[in-house]
């Protein structure tokens, strides 16, 4: 592109327009025609972030094509964003710290945000911190958002600011694709070093949600070089959980979480006066 003259507005415009064509294959964010129901496609590279509002019933597939991705996930109720993922409630209500197929992501209002419809990953982590400037400065020598080892917390600050939220809204994340095991004495054992190329997690939106995620190395990853492979995101429209949904009926706690969610949806519909609105 050096041959293009950027000294004039017309030259600069041609230079700018030439760039998208050159990169189109790698960073395709648009939904190609002829893919009905596809809501979102995006590839998130090392150190980056993404946010999206997904409607109730949508299926969000997070895929690890190269086997070494690491995702920090936050979820909010799209319509009242003070309601958000609560990690302690998620593990405590389900009597289970290790998330996987059939598990729920619960809000701090006793409702289901999303559920794990399928999961072929090696596992996840509900205990560890997301990286912040403190962690990445110590580990990589630089954790600045503009540097080579951007930290998750500062990435979320920017991502959430674009949604009208702030640093107060960066709660603890669930950390996907990098399992951490808790020993009998309470100590952590890192189990995230086995590559799992092609593994994926399918999350169902059980209400309209705002999803925010970062792709940064797990804080317990022992490698001292900033290493994380890309995440492929696909979201499609889908049918919400029915009364006989296996995740809903699996436990009394899940049953009541869906009841609370539907109770809230009923009121919302009434106030909005929208028949069948979700």
């Amino acid at each position: 592109m050096n041959s293009i003259d950027t000294a004039t507005t017309h030259g600069a415009r041609d230079h700018a327009r030439a760039q998208a064509a050159a990169a189109a294959e790698r960073f395709s964010r648009s939904v190609p025609p002829g893919e009905p129901g596809v809501l979102w496609r995006e590839t998130v590279e090392a150190g980056n972030y993404a946010t999206r509002v997904l409607p109730r019933g949508a299926r969000l597939t997070l895929r690890d094509p190269d086997g070494d991705t690491s995702v920090q996930l936050l979820v909010f109720n799209h319509h009242q964003r003070a309601e958000r993922l609560n990690v302690p409630d998620t593990v405590k209500v389900q009597w289970q710290a290790y998330l996987g197929a059939g598990r729920l992501l619960l809000s701090d209002m006793g409702r289901v945000l999303m559920s794990f419809e399928a999961d072929s990953s090696a596992g996840h982590d509900t205990f560890s911190a997301m990286s912040n400037r403190f962690w990445n400065d110590a580990k990589y020598g630089d954790g600045a958002v503009h540097g080579f080892a951007p930290n998750a917390r500062d990435r979320f600050a920017v991502a959430l600011a674009k949604e009208g939220l702030g640093r107060r809204d960066i709660g603890p994340s669930v950390n996907l694709f990098k399992p951490v095991f808790v020993e009998a004495d309470g100590s952590f054992t890192w189990r995230g070093s086995t590559p799992q190329p092609g593994s994926e997690v399918v999350l169902r939106a059980d209400m309209d949600v705002l999803v925010a995620l970062t792709v940064t190395p797990h804080v317990l990853d022992p490698r001292t070089e900033y290493t994380v492979s890309p995440l492929e995101i696909t979201a499609v429209t889908g049918v919400p959980a029915g009364a006989d949904d296996p995740i809903r009926t699996a436990t009394p706690e899940a049953q009541r979480a869906f009841e609370n969610t539907e109770d809230w949806l009923l009121t919302r519909r009434g106030h909005a006066g929208e028949a069948g609105a979700r």
Partner: protein
């Protein structure tokens, strides 16, 4: 408190009640479990910028362990030390289980518990008094509460390991707002099914 100290505050927190207080750098807070196995739900905020607050995840990650015990450093969401556990006569404390709420109680014990008083209501009561709110609710510490994590990932609140008169002592490493809910839960063993008062003693070097 064998060393020479001056008592700055000596409060008893009633069963089921909220409490908050600013503890200054270098001061110590002793929490006494007066009647035994009374969960004390506990949060910290920087007194100068409440966006910086206790982070269970950063605390556990930094020490490589889920349990809090003597020597544990309570870290903020920016990784900074907020308080240090300088002494504990109970073997360990929890920071995985979070706070009880009306809403989560309805999932755990049934919809009939939705109108029972709960820790999140206590926390929010103190938060709004101090110009904070729901967005400032983050996972807390549960002093004197026992939450084992088993090899298959099972975890839950089980019978306590505290006893009358046992205590935990914390030294402030920055000026902090301490916000406490003296847990009102009656549906699990965290308070021995009978919430009881606790004592809060703030001291400073004489």
């Amino acid at each position: 408190m064998s060393r020479s100290v001056r008592v700055v505050l000596d409060d008893t927190v009633e069963a089921r009640a909220p409490w908050s207080h600013v503890v200054l750098t270098g001061q110590s807070l002793r929490i006494v479990d007066l009647e035994g196995n009374q969960a004390v739900d506990f949060l910290l905020y920087s007194a100068h910028d409440s966006v910086e607050r206790y982070s269970a995840a950063d605390t556990m990650t930094a020490q490589g362990n889920v349990y809090l015990t003597t020597g544990s450093v309570l870290r903020s969401n920016e990784g900074n030390p907020m308080m240090t556990l300088t002494g504990s006569t109970v073997e360990r404390h929890d920071t995985v289980g979070g706070a009880c709420s009306r809403e989560s109680n309805s999932l755990r014990y049934g919809h009939h518990t939705n109108h029972q008083h709960a820790c999140v209501d206590n926390f929010l009561h103190e938060h709004v008094r101090r110009d904070m709110g729901k967005r400032d609710m983050v996972p807390n510490i549960n002093f004197f509460m026992n939450v084992p994590v088993e090899p298959d990932g099972s975890l839950g609140i089980v019978d306590g390991i505290s006893a009358p008169g046992l205590y935990v002592e914390l030294r402030a490493e920055m000026d902090v707002i301490v916000v406490v809910s003296n847990c009102p839960q009656i549906n699990n063993p965290c308070n021995g099914f009978a919430p009881s008062p606790v004592r809060m003693i703030v001291t400073e070097p004489a």
